[in-house]
Every structure is written in structure tokens, then in C-alpha cells.
């Protein structure tokens, strides 16, 4: 395994008011890896991603990205550093068009030409978005909104992509499509932290996995090992 981590989370704790969502978790991601975070509802998976993209505050611990401490950075600053977050529940900008959403995904970039060619690239990945490029994002179907959220996150040309439940609410064939896209992304050098309900599928495409239970990391290993692990099979693979 490579020795220099892209992301290193050390002893991270997060509270929402009185509720402790994360308790001193450690998590490391190396460049080029696909790492998945699995766990049941309310375990703190989304919170972990939100802490990395800085939309929730860390109460303890630190987040190092490329050796830089980003624990006190503002959300828009970490986007510039190369972290993109496709949040839970899609959160497309519903009153703007598909094209505007994609353009805003490239907000931190300036070269018009390369933005344009990236938009075309997204349209090749997600042909449904191309057909609907002038439609208001709020009028897309749930699955189309999910595709738009992923495509929009890619528009910033991230080094680290945080995906929160990309398969949620999608038909099985589309889920396959999305997972193929995630696998292809890795070939282009994007490092991915993937949160998924569908642990089976996630562990099949991931290099390594972490299991989160009520705010604590209880297990982490190679994905292939986790797939064989009895505890994981019982709790998450059904």
C-alpha cells in the first residue's frame, strides 16, 4: 500500500446539539483508493462526509488532507483544494437547469473550454442528462437527480470524491450503471469515499471498507476480507 495518505482523520468527534454522532473515529484514505463506509441508519456515515467537506464542525480531532490540516477550513475552501461532496438526498439546485447545475459544479474552475468539454464528458457518462439539459433540475426524476448530483460533483475535477448513497432510490439497472461509472472513475485517478446502504455492491468495487456503528469505527479491512467476515455478513449483507 502507498505510504502517503490523501486523507487522514484522527480522533474525530462530532456532536449535533446534545447528540454525539461520531466518537473519536480514525480513517485513512490513500491516493487512488475506493474506500467504502458502511453501517446501519444513524451510524454517522453522512456525518463523516459532512465533517470532511466542512459543513459540520468537528468538536475534537483533526482532518488532514494532503498533509494540510483542514479541520477549521470553510466548506467552499476545501472544494478548491480538490474535495467534492455529492450529498445525501441529492440536493440539486431545483430552480436551475441541468446545465446550470453542471456549470455551478465547476464554479471553482476558470477555463471555459475545459469546463465545456467536461460537461460533454458528463453527458456521455449520463446520456439522460444530455436529453434534459435545459430542464429545471427540480423536475427531474429521483434517479436523474442522483445522476446530476454525481455529475455535478465531478465537474470540480476532484481529487477526492465523497459519495453519499449514490444508489438510493434507483432501479437496479441504474445502480449497476452508477457503480460501473464509479469503477471507471477510479481509473481516471479519482480517490473515492463511498457511503452505501448496499454494502454488498459497495464492498465489491471498493479496495477497503470501514464499518461504522453508532458513531464508532468497529471494523476496517480489505473489502474482500470484509465480504467474508461473519460479523459483516450477518449485520450488513443479509
Amino acid at each position: 500500500m502507498q505510504e502517503i495518505p490523501l486523507l487522514e482523520i484522527q480522533g474525530l468527534s462530532v456532536h449535533y446539539g446534545g447528540i454525539q454522532a461520531l466518537q473519536a473515529i480514525d480513517l485513512t484514505i490513500y491516493p487512488g483508493e475506493v474506500v467504502t463506509l458502511i453501517g446501519s441508519n444513524g451510524a454517522g456515515k453522512s456525518t463523516t462526509l459532512r465533517a470532511i467537506s466542512r459543513i459540520v464542525n468537528a468538536h475534537q480531532g483533526q482532518i488532514l488532507y494532503n498533509h494540510e490540516n483542514i479541520t477549521r477550513r470553510r466548506p467552499h475552501e476545501v472544494v478548491k483544494l480538490g474535495i467534492a461532496h455529492s450529498p445525501e438526498g441529492r440536493r440539486v439546485l431545483s430552480r436551475q437547469t441541468v446545465l446550470d447545475n453542471l456549470e455551478l459544479g465547476a464554479y471553482t474552475r476558470s477555463s471555459r473550454r475545459s469546463i465545456q468539454s467536461d460537461i460533454e464528458q458528463q453527458f456521455r457518462l449520463f446520456p439522460r442528462l444530455a436529453e434534459r439539459k435545459n430542464q429545471l433540475a427540480g423536475t427531474l426524476s429521483g434517479g436523474e437527480q442522483q445522476m446530476l448530483a454525481i455529475a455535478r460533483a465531478l465537474m470540480s475535477r476532484p481529487k477526492l470524491l465523497l459519495l453519499d448513497e449514490p444508489s438510493l432510490g434507483l432501479a437496479p439497472t441504474i445502480v449497476r450503471e452508477i457503480f460501473t461509472i464509479i469503477q471507471n472513475l477510479r481509473e481516471t485517478g479519482v480517490t473515492i469515499l463511498l457511503v452505501e446502504q448496499n454494502a454488498n455492491l459497495a464492498l465489491q468495487i471498493a479496495d477497503r471498507g470501514y464499518v461504522l456503528e453508532t458513531g464508532c469505527i468497529t471494523l476496517f479491512n480489505k473489502a474482500s476480507e470484509l465480504l467474508k467476515d461473519d460479523r459483516v455478513r450477518q449485520a450488513y449483507l443479509g
Binding site: 459543513i55 470553510r74 466548506p75 439546485l93 436551475q96 455551478l104 464554479y107
Partner: protein
């Protein structure tokens, strides 16, 4: 009513209506990004008029701390209007930093912010009175430079004279509305601003700094408020520190009529109220305001979202 009087009324209505529209756009912009009515907007309107008055080198009266003061510079009207509105925009940014931002950081209820903005309005009004007294200031007759009092848009035989002030107002408001519409709908920063208005958290995940756009919005809003203040102040007079308060209420009627948060709504609402007021017969002109608010009430009953508003106000 003969045709000339009719046309005159239409012109008067459109010109005051354009000013209502510019002013109301200031409310609308802040409302659409924060979901809050900024009650200090009327006070910024007043300040804009004073700033322009001052930048043109006009002297203040006998009362107040700045009695008889005149700036050593004498800018022509257009420049004074521009810089006076910029100053009003900066005051508006200051208001956001002092009265809005701290409450937003603490996630305070929006009602508290509304009260806070009302407080700022009172402070500004009092400050103006303290500095320059409560008297009425009139712009000197040569304010618009060499422009004649009226320009004939008809023929010699069928004159259609339009007051030069009104021509200025039409040009300025036309430019402002088109520019603003273009900037907000077609540019990267306009789209980013709309993203912040819809969902600041998601906007920040795209690399947009919501705070920067909130400040920018307050600046533009204050600029428009100050501009409207100057246009009214220079075509009528600056009627003392409370000048903008009544106007501020009228602006509320405009945005509710047009639809909260809607830019075309502010324009349509402003022109509608301006036109209706212009046709209030002379004998009843003291009741003009009642007419504006009458329209407002009817609107709230039949179509609470306003002429061009989204179906329901849905800002969390």
C-alpha cells in the same frame, strides 16, 4: 379626460412606478437570498438622497452637527448619483455585517432579524436628524445641468412633452432592470447567487462562499435603494430624515403585489402601483397611499403569492 391628460398621467405613473420598481428590487434581492424583509432599506433610500445632495457640493442647513457644511467637490448629477448610490450600497453592507450577520451565525429566528433591521432604520433616521437636522432639502434647479425642463417627443403641432427628470428616470431604470436581469440569469456569479438563495449549504459544497454573495446582494440592494432615493429627492425634494419610511412601506406593497422574491414581480408591481396612483383624481390625492394598500389587500385575498410569485413562500 382628454388624451393629453391621459398620456401625462400614464407618464407620471410610469416614472414614479419605475422608481418604486428600482427601490422594491432592493427588498426583493435581500428577500430572495435570506428570506427576510430588510426594514432598514427605506433608511438607506433616504441616505442615498443625502449622499448625492452632498456630493454635488450642496450645503446643509442651519441645524444639526453638520450645519452649513458643504463638500469642497462639486460632482455633476450623474456622477454624484453613481457615487451616492455606491455609498448607500456600502452602508447597506455595514447593516448586513452589524445587524444581520451576527444573528445569522447564531441561527436566530428570522423575526429577530426583522426587528433588528427595524432598529437599524430608527438609528439611521435619528442619526440623520442629529447630523443635518429635520428640514427639507431641495436640489437646486440646475441639478440636471443643461437639460431643458422638458423634451418634446411629439411634433410641433402635437407636442408630447416629457419632463427631463422623467426621461432620466426611464433611462436609468431601464438600464438597471435589464442589467440586473442579465447579471442574475446569465452570468456565473448570478447563477451562484441564485444557488445561495436556494440552498446555501449546497452552494458551499460547490465552492461558492455564501457570505460573499450575501454581502454582494446587500451592496446591490443598497445601491438600488440609494438610487431610488436620489431620483425621488432630486425630482421632488428630500423631505427630512423620515423621507424613506413612507416610501419603504410603499415598497413593501410593491413586492407583495408583484410576488416576494421575484424580480419581474418587483417591476410589474412597481409600475402597477405607480400607474394606479397617477389616476387617483386630484381631489383625492391625499388618499393615494390608501389606494396602494387597498390593491395590496385585495391581492392578498385573491392571490397571496402575488402577481408573479412562486406558489408559496418556502424558505426554511
Amino acid at each position: 379626460m382628454n388624451l393629453t391628460v391621459f398620456l401625462q398621467n400614464v407618464l407620471n405613473g410610469l416614472s414614479i412606478g419605475s422608481i418604486y420598481a428600482i427601490f422594491a428590487l432592493g427588498y426583493t434581492l435581500v428577500f430572495s437570498i435570506l428570506g427576510i424583509i430588510n426594514f432598514a432599506h427605506g433608511a438607506v433610500f433616504t441616505l442615498g438622497a443625502y449622499f448625492t445632495y452632498m456630493l454635488m457640493g450642496n450645503a446643509f442647513g442651519f441645524n444639526g452637527l453638520l450645519a452649513n457644511l458643504a463638500l469642497p467637490i462639486r460632482l455633476p448629477f450623474v456622477l454624484a448619483l453613481f457615487f451616492g448610490s455606491i455609498a448607500a450600497g456600502l452602508v447597506s453592507v455595514l447593516i448586513e455585517r452589524l445587524a444581520f450577520c451576527p444573528l445569522r451565525r447564531k441561527k436566530a429566528d428570522s423575526l429577530l432579524t426583522v426587528v433588528s433591521s427595524l432598529g437599524v432604520a430608527v438609528v439611521i433616521v435619528n442619526l440623520i436628524q442629529y447630523l443635518v437636522g429635520a428640514e427639507i432639502y431641495t436640489f437646486p434647479p440646475d441639478t440636471y445641468g443643461t437639460l431643458p425642463p422638458a423634451i418634446n417627443f411629439g411634433t410641433e403641432a402635437n407636442p408630447i412633452p416629457i419632463r427631463s427628470v422623467q426621461v432620466v428616470i426611464f433611462v436609468v431604470s431601464g438600464v438597471i432592470v435589464s442589467l440586473l436581469t442579465y447579471l442574475i440569469n446569465a452570468t456565473k456569479y448570478g447563477k451562484a447567487m441564485r444557488a445561495v438563495a436556494e440552498d446555501p449549504t449546497t452552494a458551499s459544497l460547490l465552492g461558492i462562499d455564501p457570505d460573499r454573495f450575501i454581502v454582494l446582494t446587500f451592496f446591490v440592494s443598497g445601491f438600488l435603494g440609494g438610487l431610488a432615493g436620489t431620483l425621488v429627492g432630486s425630482s421632488v425634494s428630500i423631505a427630512g430624515p423620515y423621507f424613506g419610511i413612507g416610501f419603504g412601506l410603499k415598497g413593501l406593497a410593491v413586492i407583495v403585489l408583484g410576488g416576494l422574491g421575484s424580480i419581474p414581480g418587483a417591476v410589474v408591481g412597481g409600475l402597477t402601483i405607480g400607474l394606479v396612483e397617477a389616476f387617483v383624481p386630484g381631489d383625492y390625492s391625499a388618499y393615494k397611499d390608501a389606494v396602494a394598500f387597498g390593491i395590496l389587500f385585495i391581492m392578498l385575498l385573491v392571490r397571496p403569492q402575488g402577481l408573479l410569485g412562486r406558489s408559496l413562500v418556502q424558505k426554511v
